[in-house]
């Protein structure tokens, strides 16, 4: 198992290298000048040039590139141009918020999505099924910022159940969770819509397979068949979706963070883009891509846990 993970990570190295290169180039091609954002609009061209030299932005591109790649391979992503702090520190500072939100959304998505999907599959083409399908389609169709605004208007402003600012300035756990509710529900419901759909279609497929039919024919009760046989196999595509959802989750979390004013990786990256904080932008993109690779590996490993037929031999 450990060897497998190592090998998968090693296999991801070329991809990550390519990502590094693309990221480096992409970031340099974006117009705008980090020195200007640091010095402000009254700075003279001379002052800007001096700062660019100090930041090392005037060196040839390939020099900057090799420096960046070698440092990145050593795990050093450099310092933010704007704050001067190590990028890792900046990321670690907001990571808990991102993890809170992502996990909460995953939990909400699974709690609602999986049972609903199974329920709908077992009542195929009946009223419940239609309602679930249309409901989940509707969920998929909501732009996350639109649903976020509606949630804010209704629950924060009208009913005042939850605060507007989706993050706490105190260390109080209860407060932290309280403020997490709306953003997590916003992301989680959309996630639930995805999971419902995938669970439903996976269940339908598994329920149609021979061994399930055989089990039914042998007189195994329907509930047992569903829970013991079908669900286990249906969960594989569901796990895949949860893994694949990461990309969407990141995009949606940027918007959610904006609407609910939460700190998080998504907002950091948008901020870095606005400030032309090249190292920050590079570092974050690399971290994102690395994260996606890790999630893919985790997804594959989860298959093994769910489905004993997939052997790690």
């Amino acid at each position: 198992m450990g060897r497998y993970i190592l090998k998968r990570l090693a296999a991801a190295v070329p991809t990550l290298l390519a990502v590094l290169t693309v990221v480096f180039l992409l970031v340099r091609v974006v117009p705008g000048d980090p020195a200007q954002t640091i010095l402000g609009d009254q700075a003279t061209a001379e002052a800007l040039a001096a700062l660019r030299a100090r930041l090392g932005l005037d060196r040839p591109l390939h020099v900057q590139y090799f420096e960046f790649v070698f440092a990145a391979l050593r795990g050093d992503l450099g310092n933010s141009l704007v704050s001067g702090r190590p990028i890792i520190d900046e990321v670690v500072a907001v990571l808990p918020h991102t993890i809170d939100l992502t996990l909460a959304a995953l939990v909400i998505g699974s709690i609602f999505g999986i049972p609903l999907g199974i329920w709908a599959a077992m009542h195929r083409n009946r009223f419940i099924d239609y309602v679930t399908r249309i409901g989940s389609l509707l969920g998929l169709s909501f732009p996350v910022f639109v649903s976020g605004i509606f949630l804010l208007l209704v629950f924060a402003l009208h009913w005042r159940w939850f605060p507007v600012i989706g993050t706490s300035s105190s260390a109080d756990f209860g407060d932290r969770m309280h403020r997490l509710v709306l953003p997590a529900v916003n992301l989680g419901l959309i996630m639930a819509a995805y999971i419902t759909r995938v669970t439903r279609s996976a269940m339908l497929q598994v329920l149609g397979e021979d061994y399930v039919r055989t089990a039914r024919a042998k007189g195994v009760p329907r509930r047992v068949v569903v829970w013991r046989h079908a669900l286990r196999n249906a969960l594989i595509p569901v796990v895949t979706v949860i893994g694949l959802y990461l990309g969407i989750l990141i995009g949606n979390s940027v918007l959610t963070e904006i609407v609910f004013n939460r700190p998080g990786l998504g907002k950091v990256i948008v901020g870095a883009l606005n400030q032309r904080d090249y190292p920050m932008l590079q570092g974050l993109l690399v971290i994102y891509c690395f994260l996606i690779v890790v999630v893919n590996i985790a997804t594959d490993l989860t298959y093994g846990l769910i489905d004993p037929r997939v052997k790690h031999a």
């Binding site: 060897r3 497998y4 090998k7 998968r8 594959d300 997939v310 052997k311 790690h312 031999a313």
Partner: protein, 331 residues
Amino acid sequence: MASGNATETVLSVKGLSKTFVTKRGFPNPVTVTVRAVDDVSFAVRAGEAFGLVGESGCGKSTTGRALLRLIEPDRGAVTYRGQDVLAASGAELRALRRKLQIVFQDPYASLNPRRGIGETLAEPMRVHKMGDRAQIAERVKSLLAEVGLPPSAADKYPHEFSGGQRQRIGIARALSVDPELIVADEPVSALDVSIQAQVLLLLRDLQARRGLSYVFVAHDLGVVRFFCQSVAVMYLGRIVESGPVEEVFNQPAHPYTTVLRQASPVPDPRAKSIAVRIEGEVPSAANPPQGCHFHPRCPNAMPVCKTVYPAWTQLTPTRGVACHLHTPAGS
């Protein structure tokens, strides 16, 4: 080695080899090397049907495809009427494509489901610029007639035909470029027995009418005996015996041929089919046994068979075998 009359030989295959490398296993894949075709040599004479026979997985289909370069072989030489097939490229290769054709086993997979029959037959002629629109249309009709289908078939789609009819269409497509040699890759094995004969008769008829040569790939000895003049028996990527059909099947030199003949139903109703099971499992081509590949299953296995692969022994000018039973002493 089969070396008949040199002037008659149209297709000569020498030392043809093809190795597949695959990775298998999760999560720690193992590289598997399969020698699908291993140093295969034979010759086909003009107007002859040459059979390649063996159990499934023995590499006979791969051989057929490799000599047409549908799979690029790793080593060896293929010569068609003095022309090096493997070295041909560009216009040369295009010209060769017209001379050498193939008929596939699965009549369902071999036709593009989204293309009408007329279109399927006309396309090769258009590609090779074999006439104007009207001429090609005319030739489509005559091709259909030649394989025993009505002209109306041109306007239909593959799914509207039965398996036998589709195979006729497949044959017509191969004929569309006026080939001289056809590799028939198990052309009847997917068909009902009653239809097999019709298709075989059609092929034989074409052989006579057009002077075609065939490389006829099959696992069914009866069909080979009926259709072919010469035959080569393959086992795990190698030819173990070859020669004229009657000789090989009546007096097999290789124990494998004997076993194969016993296991195979013979179309002759008078001959009692003897149900002999071939002993042992077919070894994997990925991991052939040391020595003679056949020795684990061979009733006549000797100690030497376990260590040394037998050399090719020419029994008559047209017959040869690779078996220690026939190896001249001391070699």
